[in-house]
């Protein structure tokens, strides 16, 4: 297991940290919110593409920069630091991985160069209830001669409010709850019968509910093997979970640093509040959690790069630990800031609101504890 970045990865990390700090600070998210943009910023997206961030996981033959998951994790951590609302997780990680791992040569040629260039965004339309549950898909895809007809509904699709293409998970066999019988489809936003309901979410990043009412797709839009969608979905989800965990680590670190700074400037009873042992120990405990979580995320990223056989276990570990850590740190950030932490003017609230969305996406800590237990045979 490698825990030390290469020179290239360090450089990418510095670029990403500087870019999000200078161009996409929390102030920027606040401005998007206040302007009613629902987290969408096409100009920023173009700049991210110019920096090559959309192509980190895409091979050079499809116009990507072909780096590694560890490299991508650095970009995600950087965007997590400033809560930047970008399509990177859905498009550059989940979308690109799904097409790369499951797509035909024609699909790769069609989509990957556009993803790398930032021309197209994708969104995974999977969950149908308010909890992550891949096997629970009930949306039906029925054979209709030249392709399939899709009927169903998808809830809280991240980036759904602006994605150009959806990766819809639908059932071609069996019933809700079965792991077998799922198929993935590439469904363009303008497909007939597809309704996108944009959502205003607590984190100001936005999302969408989808309704599929007799949406027809050709066979050429099937991604991966029919009925065996879970074989593609699981590794793609694990990459997404690990990348999201890296983002969450960035958010946790930034919130902690802000709190740490405040403890060393705010005075009460004539003393810096950071000199009170009750608060010092809480800070030290947060620091401990951050150190442990940092290790889990580095290990999970490296596991993908070296194609280890425990990626699933490490993905659940990373996502669960990151969820617990960001939960703790975001709550403590509000509490340790006192009254100012309750105001909209302060950034604390932004970190806490985003934290809850991060925690819920791609499986909560509880979901991943359950999965971890199963993977370990109890």
């Amino acid at each position: 297991m490698t825990f030390v970045l290469t020179e290239d990865q360090e450089m990418l990390r510095d670029t990403a940290v500087n870019f999000t700090r200078d161009e996409l600070p929390v102030k920027h998210l606040r401005a998007l919110r206040d302007a009613g943009k629902n987290g969408v910023d096409r100009e920023a997206r173009q700049k991210l593409a110019e920096l090559g961030f959309f192509g980190v996981l895409i091979p050079e033959e499809y116009d990507g920069v072909e780096m590694s998951m560890t490299a991508f994790g650095q970009v995600m951590e950087a965007q997590g630091r400033t809560l930047a609302s970008t399509p990177l997780l859905q498009t550059a990680c989940i979308g690109a991985s799904a097409i790369l791992m499951g797509g035909t040569e024609a699909q790769k040629k069609e989509w990957l160069p556009k993803i790398a260039a930032g021309e197209v965004t994708t969104a995974l339309a999977l969950d149908e209830t308010s909890h992550h549950n891949p096997a629970g898909v009930a949306t039906e895809a029925e054979r209709d001669g030249q392709g399939y007809t899709l009927n169903g509904a998808k809830k809280y699709v991240q980036d759904g409010h602006h994605a150009d293409v959806f990766i819809v998970v639908a059932r071609t066999f069996g019933e809700a709850g079965d792991s077998h019988g799922l198929t993935l489809f590439l469904v363009p936003r303008d497909a007939k019968g597809l309704t996108v309901q944009a959502l205003k979410t607590v984190d100001s990043h936005g999302a969408a509910h989808l309704t599929l009412d007799g949406v027809h797709v050709d066979d050429s839009h099937v991604l991966g093997a029919p009925d065996k969608g879970m074989d593609l979905l699981e590794p793609v989800l694990d990459r997404g979970r690990i990348a999201l965990a890296a983002e969450m680590l960035g958010s946790s670190l930034a919130a902690f640093e802000m709190t740490h700074e405040y403890m060393q400037t705010r005075k009460q009873f004539g003393q810096l509040i950071g000199s009170f042992q009750a608060l010092q120990h809480r800070a030290a405990k947060m620091f401990t959690e951050l150190e442990l979580t940092t290790s889990c995320i580095a290990a999970a990223l490296a596991a993908v790069d070296s194609q280890r056989n425990d990626i699933a276990e490490l993905a659940s570990l990373a996502k669960a630990r990151a969820s617990e850590t960001v939960h703790l740190v975001s709550n403590e950030t509000v509490q340790l800031h006192g009254g100012i932490g309750m105001t909209d003017d302060h950034d604390s609230g932004f970190y806490m609101k985003r934290a809850r969305v991060q925690e819920a996406l791609l499986g909560s800590a509880s979901f991943h504890r359950d999965r971890y237990a199963k993977l370990n045979g109890y």
């Binding site: 120990h281 030290a284 150190e291 442990l292 199963k374 109890y378």
Partner: protein, 404 residues
């Protein structure tokens, strides 16, 4: 047979494997009952005679202290080679030939701070398990505030004279020698402490075992009245002992956490999830019937995994020359929490089976869990309490200041 270590890792591994296969007695490849642990020293009885043979063979290679220099009896191996040795021993289930505070704590500090004569005199006996050492640190009035220690050490011209009391001296009643912190100047605090070594059979040394809540007595009260110590047994400078003490605590904290205090391998105890499966039961899919307990066990297992990855990370970063003080500082705290949580969960999973004390009617392993649970309460007290560890993180790592 002299062992010439090949520099190529694969060749080294192959050669080590061959040597171990040839030299590790069969009974030394089985799980080790607690009463067969070898601590060495004058009183060692080697309950299993094979453990004597095994210790001698390993010590002759210097492999009880694989990375120590050869000139002091060590193995002279690189960290990588030592790791390979460790892996190969684990692969064949070979027992650790020697448990020793000399190996884990005192030796590394002596290599760093001792003079040549002291290293030549004391280190080989540690490697061979001929001397068993104990640690004279805590005192009745100096626990968390260790530098408040008062055991007096006076310069009497041709010798030092020591008077005072130590407490929580691990296995003092079984040790041959003690490395001890003493006060050589009472006008200053940290700068008035020296690090001294003496024979526990010296006149004026008395030990009394302390019985713990777990029923065992691994610690003693130790009394010194007019103990005479030759002057060449003071390590480093007079009044320069605190620096050595701190470094030694680092070795202690890292050896406590490297052993994870948690390994149940070879003790007859089962893993937490095994106990839960047996005593709580599982459904048709093999899931624990108590969903709440199952979630908490998974949470703990994840914490343990995160902890192990963090230990690995700090080792890898240290090797790459990166600053790891930050990471190392949390390890003792996290290890204590982890081990205590594990034992609480084991007791909960065992139910009443985990509440036996001694005698018939309870599983042997379960009784060890019970004792281990009680013993684990000390993890957040010994070697620096968790509160002191959090203070260290707050002040040294996070730079938070005291009241002004």
């Amino acid at each position: 047979m002299p062992f010439d270590a090949p520099s190529d890792p694969d060749a080294f591994r192959e050669k080590v494997r061959g040597w171990l296969e040839e030299n590790c007695p069969e009974s030394m490849r089985t799980p080790m009952p607690e009463d067969e642990v070898v601590w060495g020293g004058r009183r060692e009885k080697f309950k299993n005679p094979d453990s004597k043979v095994w210790l001698e063979r390993m010590a002759n290679q210097g492999w009880t202290a694989p990375t120590w220099p050869k000139e002091y009896g060590g193995g002279g191996l690189t960290r990588e080679q030592a790791k390979i040795l460790e892996q190969e021993m684990a692969r064949m289930g070979a027992r650790t030939p020697l448990f020793s505070f000399g190996l884990w704590m005192f030796g590394p500090a002596l290599i760093e701070f001792g003079n040549e004569e002291q290293k030549k005199r004391f280190l080989p006996d540690i490697v061979h398990g001929r001397t068993r050492w104990c640690q004279g640190y805590s005192e009745p009035g100096a626990g968390s505030d260790l530098a408040g220690l008062q055991t007096k050490c006076e310069d009497k011209g041709d010798h030092y004279l020591i008077n005072g009391q130590k407490v929580w001296t691990s296995y003092a009643n079984e040790a041959d020698w003690i490395f001890c912190l003493v006060r050589t100047d009472n006008t200053v605090k940290h700068e008035g402490i020296s690090f001294i070594l003496f024979d526990m059979e010296s006149e004026g040394v008395e030990t009394r075992p302390i019985k713990l809540i777990s029923g065992s007595s691994p610690f003693c009260e130790t009394f010194f009245s007019d103990v005479k110590v030759p002057k060449d047994q003071l390590v480093g400078e007079v009044n320069g002992g605190w620096k050595i003490a701190k470094r030694l605590l680092q070795h202690e904290r890292s050896s406590i956490s490297a052993s994870g205090f948690g390994s149940t391998r070879g003790t007859g105890m089962l893993e937490l999830e095994e106990y839960a499966k047996i005593h709580v039961g599982t459904d048709a899919d093999g899931k624990l019937l108590d969903g709440d307990l199952r979630g908490r066990i998974a949470d703990h297992q994840m914490y343990a995994k995160a902890f192990n990855l963090t230990v690995q990370r700090s080792q890898v970063q240290a090797k790459a020359g990166q600053e790891v003080g930050h990471t190392a500082s949390i390890i003792k705290y996290a290890a204590a929490k982890m081990n205590q949580d594990k034992h609480e969960l084991m007791i909960e999973a065992l139910g009443t089976e985990g509440l036996g004390w001694e005698g018939e009617g309870f599983d042997r392993g379960a009784k060890m869990v019970t004792r281990g649970w009680l013993r684990s309460k000390g993890n957040s007290i010994e070697g620096g309490t968790s509160e002191i560890n959090l203070n260290v993180v707050s002040k040294r790592v996070l730079g938070l200041r005291d009241h002004q």
